[in-house]
């Protein structure tokens, strides 16, 4: 079985975010980039599925040369092959999905894993868009996955519980934290990954429908009052919550 996993290269969650001088892009200075955290669960599930059923795993990432770092990391985890769809410029979710769908089709993948969202633009839609473009069945925000024959059963996280969802291959699954424990790359894996070729494909310019007009940092919150250092401050806290904030 051919299994594709799509990975993005994003600012570390511990990074401070600053806006560039154009007022509508991230200022990358001093920002460390990592494999998108949700994509690690997607990679792990792809590897586990291959271990169980055999086949080939291919990672696809869309972005600039820097994304090779993320592709090397997932190759080191055990992914067989990697493709970089090259485009450094801004693409909205739809044009990302179109490019990924085209490559997934070219790969003839039966099963595709995504992270449920990239922690940069946080749209949490590229998986569903890609599936719909491909005509694949899709289950998003998945915390448990099982495949038997052609049939897929997943648990999908919803407000206050989980949905049990069934579908069939070909399918696209988006991974939520809790799906599995992603493995660490072995030393051997890291060495092998260094030697592997990353296939590069240059993309044509995107036709975006969503335009970013500006980016800003949220207004700084004014630090409030420290009411005390022990339980004698409790009555005053409760009074403020009732009378000033009116929230209880």
């Amino acid at each position: 079985m051919k299994i594709v996993v799509c990975v993005s290269h994003v600012p570390d969650t511990a990074a401070k975010i600053n806006i560039g001088s154009d007022g509508k892009t991230l200022d990358p200075i001093g920002v460390t980039f990592i494999v998108n955290p949700y994509d690690e669960f997607a990679v792990e599930e792809a590897l586990k599925t291959k271990e169980k059923f055999g086949g080939e795993t291919v990672a696809i990432s869309l972005g600039g040369n820097a994304n090779k770092e993320t592709l090397r990391k997932v190759l080191a985890m055990g992914i067989d092959n990697a493709v970089l769809l090259k485009d450094d410029s801004y693409r909205d979710s739809f044009s990302v999905a179109k490019a990924l769908a085209e490559e997934i089709k070219a790969q003839n993948a039966e099963l595709v894993f995504f992270g449920k969202q990239s922690v940069d633009f946080d749209n949490s839609v590229v998986g569903q868009l890609t599936a719909e473009i491909l005509g694949y069945n899709c289950i998003s925000v998945v915390v448990s996955f099982s495949l038997e024959g052609n049939k897929i059963t997943c648990e999908r996280e919803i407000e206050g519980g989980k949905e049990i969802v069934e579908t069939t291959l070909p399918a696209l699954i988006t991974a939520q934290k809790g799906l599995n424990d992603p493995r660490y790359a072995s030393l051997k894996g890291i060495m092998t990954a260094k030697k592997k070729e990353i296939v590069e494909k240059q993309l044509a310019a995107a036709n975006n429908s969503v335009e970013i007009i500006s980016m800003k940092k949220p207004a700084p919150k004014q630090a409030g009052k420290i009411l005390g250092t022990d339980s004698t401050a409790v009555p005053e806290l409760v009074r403020l919550l009732r009378e000033e904030a009116k929230v209880i």
């Binding site: 975010i17 569903q128 407000e159 809790g178 969503v210 335009e211 980016m215 800003k216 005390g228 022990d230």
Partner: protein, 322 residues
Amino acid sequence: MANKILVFIEQRNGKIKKSSLEALKAASDIAQKLSGSVEAVSIGNEIENLENVGGFGAGKVTHFKNADLESYSPSAYTDIIAKYSTENNINLFFFAASSMGKDLAPRVAVKTDSGLAMDCILLNCESNEIIATRPIYGGKALADVKINSSNKIFVLRPNVFNPGTPTDKKAEVSVVNVDSPNLSVKVVDIKKSDGKIDVAEADIIVSGGRGMKGPEHFRLVEDLAQVLGAASGASRAVVDAGWRPHSEQVGQTGKTVSPNLYVALGISGAIQHLAGMRSSKYIVAINKDKDAPIFQVADYGIAGDLFEIVPALIEEIKKIKS
């Protein structure tokens, strides 16, 4: 050209979700500014009080009915909305960014060739165009976006838009029976987590961090949550340590929340946690380290031992509630 706006009204167990009414009211406000009409669509079996969506601005609501559609089916719901909107020349769609809305909206976007703005927290109209503000980088920045395609979908973050007080207008309800829906992806069962409120939907959240010192002490978080009618939340550190389930995690790789009140117990305030809860209307922090970053975003703080303070707080709240 007059806009034709369609709002998706989500039902769970036959009850309309509040977040859908928030989206409907926001859509009605947009319709007044941009000249347009607003209608609603809902999918399910029996749905209670659907005519009441009239009070939030929908002139009519179409109920697509089938016993198999009581629980969510992404494939069937997508097909129904896409077909209806194409036949009725809908050009603007509104959804709530609930777990269903976030799953469904992008699928509808492909079928209707619409641009998408997800998780919007503010909508403005400037020279006949909608400018949406949405958090990015887990809430560390905000982007103003504009959709340039002729069909557009706005998906609104729950708990942010005020649904206001409904008028007593009733919507005209038309029921359409659905024959053999496309159930290629289908929810077959729902496991509920024992009556707990979800952090993503709660008006009040009480969260615990590493300062709770161990999973056994989260009883204190739950007790405070209970007297406040709140959801229990957790920091990434305690979720990663296995003390609490991931469904409770607040922050950049958990849930981004905007409750009326957020109470942080023993949470120091890592940047990814602050990003996920800083838009709460009021924040209370109880932490023994007075220099913890959480106090920089807290409206009210007590810099002391939470094991002494929280039991007193529970008693004080019980007193005023009785």
